[in-house]
Symmetry: C2
C-alpha cells in the first residue's frame, strides 16, 4: 500500500491559527487549562471538526471527543489525541501539534473519500500540563480511571477556583459517563528536548520512559526580625531551601545526559522583607533513564537534607507526592509506527520520554503509541519552542498512515 501524506500547508495554517489564541508578545502562547483561551481554542477546533463531519461530545472532566464514524459503528474507535492547554511560558507546538495533526488526518480521510472500518476519534484531553490545576494529565487520568472524577473536580488553582467551577464557567463541562473502549491510542508530540535535532532523525519512537520521583520538601526554621537577630542565632528556612536547591541540581548534573533534577516551585512563609523565613515548601523531582539510579539519587537527596537540617537547626521533611515510570511501551504498536515510518522514508530512532504525556495513562487502557518529531530549537515550555512545517507534517504523515492501518481502511 502506498503511503499517504497530509496537506502540509493546511496543517501549518491550522497550527498557526490556534497559536493566535492566547498568543503572548514574545510569540509564545499562554492558554492555561480551562481558561477562556483554552475554551476559545476548543471552540475553533470543534467548528473545524464538525465541518469535517465529526460528532462532538464532552465528558464531565471536559475531555473533548471528535468522532468520525466507521463502517462498523460497534467497533471500538482508533483514537488520536493530545492537549490544547499550555504552561504560562508556553509555545505553539507542545500538545497542539498532536491535536491539529489529528484534525488534518480527518480532513485527509474526507477528501480522499476513505471509509474506515472502525470509527476514528480525535481526543483533546483536559489539563495535561498541570500548570493551573494539579495533577498533570488530569483528563486522561480520569478517563482511564486512575484519578477519581470528584477528586479532580475539587482541585483548585492558585486563585481558589476549582476545576468544577472553571469547567462550568468556560462551558467545557460535559456529561458524567464512564470511558468508552478504544481500539488503540496514538499520540504525536514535539520532542521538547534536543536529541532528534542533534541526531538528524525525523521521528522518535517512545519505547519507555525515565523513572521520576517527585517530592515536596518542607523546611521549617524560625521566624525572626531580619535586623537585630544575630546571624549565629538564625534558623533561616529559605537559606536552607537554597542550599537544598543547589544539592538537587548537583545530583542531577552528576548524571550527565541520563539524569535530571528540578526544584521549580517554591512557597516561602511569610515571604516578607522584614522577617527571616519561617518555613518553605519546595517542590522537587529526580529523574533517570535507569530506574535503579533514581533510588540512589533519592538517597543522596535525603542525606543532603539530613546534613542541612543538622547543620542549620532546621527540620527538612521530604514527602513523596508522585512517581512516574519506568514505562515499557507496547512493542507491537511501536513496530507498527516503525514500519509506517520506514514506508514514509522517515529516519527514526527509539527513545525514552522524560516527561509524562496523556499517552502515559492511556498505555494501561488500550494499545498505545507515542512518537515525537524534532524540536528545531531544542526547547519547550518556552516561547522559542519551534518545529518546522516539514517536521510537523512528517509526524502528521506518520499519524495518518498508522490510523489507516489500525482502523482497517
Amino acid at each position: 500500500m502506498t503511503a499517504r501524506r497530509v496537506n502540509r500547508e493546511r496543517l501549518w495554517s491550522a497550527l498557526m491559527e490556534i497559536g493566535t489564541i492566547g498568543e503572548t508578545p514574545d510569540q509564545g502562547c499562554r492558554r492555561l487549562a480551562l481558561s477562556e483561551q483554552d475554551a476559545q481554542a476548543r471552540r475553533v477546533l470543534t467548528a473545524w471538526a464538525s465541518s469535517a463531519g465529526c460528532a462532538v461530545s464532552q465528558d464531565a472532566i471536559g475531555n473533548l471527543f471528535l468522532r468520525r464514524p466507521g463502517l462498523n459503528p460497534d467497533a471500538p474507535a482508533v483514537a488520536m489525541g493530545s492537549h490544547l492547554d499550555t504552561v504560562h511560558t508556553g509555545g505553539k507546538f507542545d500538545g497542539v501539534l498532536g491535536v491539529i495533526a489529528g484534525l488534518e488526518v480527518m480532513r485527509v480521510l474526507n477528501e480522499s473519500d476513505i471509509r474506515t472500518r472502525a470509527p476514528v476519534e480525535l481526543v483533546v484531553w483536559t489539563n495535561e500540563e498541570g500548570a493551573r490545576f494539579s495533577p498533570m494529565t488530569m483528563g486522561s487520568s480520569v478517563f482511564v480511571g486512575d484519578l477519581a472524577l470528584d477528586v479532580a473536580l475539587a482541585q483548585k488553582d492558585a486563585a481558589g477556583v476549582s476545576v468544577s467551577e472553571a469547567l462550568n464557567e468556560s462551558g467545557l463541562a460535559g456529561e458524567r459517563r464512564g470511558s468508552h473502549p478504544l481500539a488503540a491510542y496514538l499520540e504525536l508530540h514535539v520532542e521538547q528536548g534536543p536529541l532528534l535535532k542533534e541526531g538528524g532523525e525525523a521521528i522518535g519512537i517512545v519505547t519507555g520512559s525515565f523513572r521520576a520521583h517527585y517530592f515536596v520538601a518542607t523546611i521549617t526554621g524560625e521566624a525572626g526580625h531580619v535586623g537585630p537577630t544575630l546571624m549565629e542565632h538564625r534558623r533561616d528556612a529559605f537559606a536552607a531551601a537554597a542550599e537544598l536547591t543547589i544539592e538537587i541540581e548537583r545530583i542531577g548534573r552528576a548524571r550527565g545526559r541520563q539524569g535530571r533534577s528540578n526544584a521549580p516551585h517554591v512557597e516561602v512563609y511569610p515571604n516578607a522583607r522584614g522577617v527571616i523565613p519561617a518555613s518553605v515548601r519546595l517542590s522537587c523531582d529526580l529523574r533517570h533513564a535507569d530506574a535503579n539510579e533514581v533510588g540512589r539519587m533519592e538517597e543522596e537527596l535525603r542525606q543532603a537534607a539530613r546534613d542541612i537540617a543538622a547543620r542549620r537547626g532546621v527540620s527538612v521533611a521530604l514527602d513523596p507526592y508522585f512517581q512516574f515510570g519506568p514505562l515499557a511501551c507496547d512493542g507491537t504498536m511501536n513496530d507498527l509506527i516503525r514500519r509506517n515510518a520506514d514506508a514514509l522514508g522517515l529516519r527514526h530512532r527509539d527513545m525514552l520520554t522524560v516527561a509524562s504525556h496523556d499517552a502515559v495513562p492511556m498505555m494501561r487502557f488500550c494499545p498505545t503509541a507515542l512518537f515525537f518529531v524534532p524540536s528545531e530549537t531544542g526547547v519547550s515550555h518556552n516561547p522559542a519552542e519551534f518545529s518546522t512545517p516539514q517536521q510537523c507534517s512528517d509526524g502528521a504523515d506518520l499519524l495518518l498512515n498508522a490510523v489507516l492501518e489500525l482502523s482497517g481502511a
Copy 2:
C-alpha cells in the same frame, strides 16, 4: 525630683488585652496594617485614651493622635509613639509596648493630677512594619514629609488592595493636613535581639544605627521543560537565585555580630512544577555597624552576582531600592534618657539599632530619643517574642519621667 513610676499591673493588663486582638493559636499576633484587627486595636486604644481625657484625631495616612492638653495650649506637644501593626508572624510586644506605655503615662498623669506645660501626645503610626504595604515606617515618613502622601496612598498589598482603599474600608482615614510641630518625640521599643538580655541591662539607649543597603536582585534565565531539557542546557533562574542566597548569607556571617544579611522575599516566575524557572526577583539586604563595611559587603555581593551570571549564563541585576543609616542620634535627648534611667536606678547601655523604627524618620523632624527594653527570648517578629512585666514597666517608667521633664511638669 523623685522619680515617678507607672502602674505595672495596669500596663501589663492593657498590653495583654491588645494582644488578644489578632492573636494566633501559637500565642503570637497577626495584626497587619489597616486590617480589621489593626482597626479593632485602634478602637480599643482610642476608647481608653478618650476616657483618659485625650482629644482624638487622625490624618490622611491614618496616623492616630491622642492628645492630652497642656497648660500652654500653643506650646508644641511632647510626643510618645510607636505602632500597633505587626508582621504575619508577629508577637505581642513589638510596637504595641511603646503605644501602651504611652497610654499608661497618660493614666499616671491623670491620677497624679499632673498638669504639664506642653501638651502630651501619643501617636500610633500607620504601617510601621511594611509587611502588608511597602515601604515600612509609612505613617511617620508621610508625617515628616519624607514620603509623599499620594504615593503612600497608592501602594498596594499582595491582593491588589491600595492603602487608600484599606484606610477607607477600615474607617482609619482622617483629614488631609500637614504635620504639626512637636517639641520632642520619644519611642520605647523592645530590643528584638539578645544583647540587653545577655548583658543584663534594663535599658538600651540608641545612639546610632547600622548602615543597611537594600536591593532587588532580578535574575533572568530561560524557561524550559523540566523533563527533556538536558541539565547542561539549562539556565535555571531559581538555582542561580539559590546560589546568590547562599552567598548573601555568607557575606553577613563573615562579619560576626557586626554584620547582617538577608534574602527574605522571593518571587519565582512561572513557579510551576513543569517549568524550569525563567526569572526570579529576590529582595535582599546587607547591614553593618560600620557604614564603610557595607560598601565592601556590597562589592562582594556584586562580584558573586557577576560570577554566578557568567558561570550559569543568566543575567543578574542588583537594583538598590532603599538605604538606611548610619544614624547619629540626638546627644542631648540621649543624655536626658540616661539621666532619668540613672534616677530610676535602671542599668543602661548605649547601642545601635539594626532595624528602622518610626523614631528614625522622626529624628529629622524634632529632638528624638529611641530606647529599648530587653527581649527575654531574644527574638522578635515571632510568636515567642516576650518581655517580662518588669522589663516593660522599667521602660514605661523611663518614658514617664522623660515626658515629665520634657513637658515641664
